[in-house]
């Protein structure tokens, strides 16, 4: 940035320089420590300037101005804490609350509602309204994923702009005028696209709430941690929300990353917490007759199966990998087999036969429903292995391997042909299947070993663009679970 293109100003006496053409809101954000309360402004959307909450004082300007839509000038002195600014914030909130039903105790946004939070910070506390509130439609079913309460809406228009600018579906509008104004869809039309939950995120109040989360858990019981969505090769950065005591996962939300997903994530990605909870998990190793084995027995059995194939003149061993695990896991299992066998196993990359791998919806969602296709390619290259990529498992069946070691998909929904593929495995002499699902799909294989899921392990995913991203580990849903490396260490 050259000198003449940047503008120097002060905010509450603190100096900041921003590119010419920036708004006061952007300058304030750059300073970091100062907060100007706002509803309609959002860093990922265009400026609307409609909520009139973000008032600030500018030296030499007779009236207060909105920070979000006022451009900075050289030498401008902005004041965000003057008494009249604080007064303006109070009254702006009061205005937004005129027709608000104040049903926070039963509203699902309570605890993370911007209106509520700001009221605690800068509100006026006593109401002066004599007028009755205008009643508006509540609990409207506006789509498969969302419920709309138009009384709670503060008409910030974020949702309207999201539909216009991000999904370009333009499903929402503001109908009527003044205190009768409501957000809505055209009669009998619904919000139907793969990004709908973002509306519940950006709605600053409880007007839009998510059907899959409302009334499930109070947000203050949830702990949030950062992770990578395993839903497709985009690798959106996400926050996962887990009840700290029960370790139950409740939802995913996008984590801002300008290089990957901006502010958003897709609805398919939002479902990627369902397979994490204990009710769907395989929690102990199982033998061929589906009886539970102790971890040490399972490790011993695995060791025997591998050793029986060791030596150069023995039968073939197939290692079948799915692009749904970390680089570190791929390399650990390959190296383990290589050292135990005294030669390299034959490596197959198992992909879903029906996938439309190169499709892309133009926003985020990709047809490659695997988080680590690139990482698997890179790892195999580093190991100097030439693997056979196959759609479905027919080729593995035909390989005549005496033993197949399979790292199955973590997200089984990404493999709609799973049943057919597992039938091929059942015909093989010996199969060790690593998977996290309790489902009976893989029943009858020689040995099934539970694996960890993406929120429980450390490691690397490489997204479609070659960007390396690191997973962080939360506590395991059951303390007894073992990671792949821990298991191989005991085998």
């Amino acid at each position: 940035m050259s000198q003449e293109q940047s503008v120097q100003l002060t905010v509450d006496g603190r100096e900041v320089s921003v590119p010419a053409g920036s708004t006061i809101m952007e300058a304030v954000r750059k300073l970091g420590e100062i907060e100007v309360p706002h509803f309609c402004w959002h860093p990922g959307l265009s400026v609307a300037g409609v909520c009139r909450f973000c008032m600030v004082k500018i030296e030499g300007v007779p009236k207060l101005q909105i920070a979000c839509n006022t451009e900075v000038r050289e030498g401008m002195a902005v004041d965000t804490i003057a008494a009249d600014v604080k007064e303006a914030h109070k009254w702006a909130l009061e205005f937004h609350l005129i027709n608000h039903p104040l049903d926070c105790p039963i509203c699902d946004q309570a605890g993370e509602c911007e209106l509520q939070n700001y009221y605690m910070k800068v509100g006026k506390y006593t109401s002066q309204m004599d007028e009755d509130k205008v009643l508006k439609p509540k609990a409207l079913d506006v789509g498969d994923t969302l419920v709309l309460d138009t009384e709670r809406c503060i008409l910030c228009s974020r949702c309207v702009r999201f539909e216009d600018e991000i999904t370009k579906t333009s499903t929402l509008g503001i109908f009527n005028r003044g205190d009768r104004a409501v957000i809505g869809t055209f009669p009998d039309r619904r919000i139907q696209h793969n990004y709908s939950y973002n509306l519940a995120d950006i709605c600053p109040v409880g007007a839009f709430t998510a059907k899959d989360f409302r009334f499930q858990c109070r947000v203050w019981f949830l702990k949030e941690s950062e992770s990578i969505c395993p839903g497709c090769s985009t690798g959106c950065n996400v926050k996962v929300f887990q009840n700290g005591n029960s370790r139950e996962y409740f939802r995913l939300k996008p984590l801002e990353n300008p290089e990957v997903n901006g502010h958003w994530m897709c609805d398919y990605g939002r479902t990627q917490f369902e397979h994490l909870n204990v009710k769907d998990r395989l929690v102990s190793p199982l033998g061929a007759d589906n009886s539970a084995l102790s971890w040490s027995d399972a490790a011993a059995r695995f060791g025997e199966l591998v050793k029986s194939q060791a030596g150069a003149d023995n039968g073939k061993v197939a290692l079948v990998l799915t692009p749904q695990h970390t680089n570190e896991e791929f390399s650990a299992i390959f190296s383990h087999l290589k050292s135990q066998l005294g030669r390299e196993p034959e490596v197959f990359v198992w992909r879903e036969a029906t996938e439309e791998r190169d499709s892309f919806d133009g926003i985020l969602f990709r047809g490659d429903r695997n988080p680590n296709t690139r990482g698997l390619e890179d790892t195999l290259k580093e190991l100097g292995v030439s693997a056979k990529e196959c759609s479905g498992l027919k080729d593995v069946g035909l390989s005549q391997a005496q033993l197949a070691v399979v790292l199955g998909p973590e997200v089984e929904r990404a493999y709609p042909s799973l049943e057919t593929d597992l039938a091929v495995l059942r015909e093989m002499p010996a199969v060790v299947y690593f998977g996290n699902h309790r489902s009976q799909a893989a029943a009858g294989l020689s040995l099934r070993v539970p694996t960890l899921v993406f929120t429980e392990k450390e490691g690397t995913y490489v997204n479609h663009a070659g960007l390396k991203q690191t997973l962080k580990a939360n506590a395991r849903v059951m303390p007894s679970l073992k990671s792949l490396t821990e298991f191989l260490g005991g085998a």
Binding site: T171, F175, F186
Partner: protein, 187 residues
């Protein structure tokens, strides 16, 4: 005028098309288009809005936003004649409330007697003729010094006139396929 099953006449369709190219964006033409529809068929239905999307490539949501914003657009079938009385300050000082009450009472009476009176009335904001209050409109015609007596007289006079073309068209579309041209308010 020959009627078709399409709710918009060919003339109306041509007018809509000409409005669409009049401004920089199609969206800017929503106001005159809605007026044109209302001038032809007296009100604007949700189906009409959907039609503007499917046949004229406007966004139904954008159109509905505009349509519901202004109280001058009618979103349900109206009475053929509509008396609008200004109730802003000058007219109010000249007794517009009394005019309104007289007109409303007359309409109520007609209704309870089962008498055919093709009129509705409502109050509106300043009509820009404040020196001649109370000021009123009957459809698009302006009237000055509308005292309660004058209001009743106007209602009689207009009731004797042939129905306006838009009301006839509205009735045709209500009864379906434009077969009958009966007044829908006669029942």
């Amino acid at each position: 005028m020959s009627t078709t099953t399409h709710p918009f006449s060919d003339e109306l369709k041509a007018r809509i098309k000409s409005f669409l190219t009049r401004y920089e964006t199609k969206r800017s033409s929503i106001l005159p288009i809605l007026h044109a529809i209302q001038d032809e068929k007296d009100w604007i239905s949700e189906d009409d809005v959907a039609l503007l999307e499917s046949e004229f490539d406007l966004s139904a949501v954008d159109v509905r936003e505009v349509l519901t914003f202004y109280s001058m657009y009618r979103t349900s079938p109206p009475e053929p004649w509509r008396l609008e009385i200004c109730n802003s300050i000058s007219c109010w000082l000249m007794g517009s409330k009394k005019t309104l009450e007289a007109a409303e009472r007359r309409i109520q009476e007609a209704k309870s007697r089962g008498e055919k009176l093709p009129f509705s009335c409502r109050e509106v904001e300043c009509l820009g003729l404040c020196g001649k209050g109370p000021v009123g409109f009957v459809n698009k015609e302006r009237h000055e010094n509308v005292t309660p007596e004058r209001a009743l007289q106007l209602m009689e006079e207009y009731s004797q006139k042939p129905l306006p073309a838009a009301a006839v068209r509205c009735a045709e579309l209500q009864t379906g396929e434009g077969s009958a041209s009966e007044n829908p308010h006669s029942n």
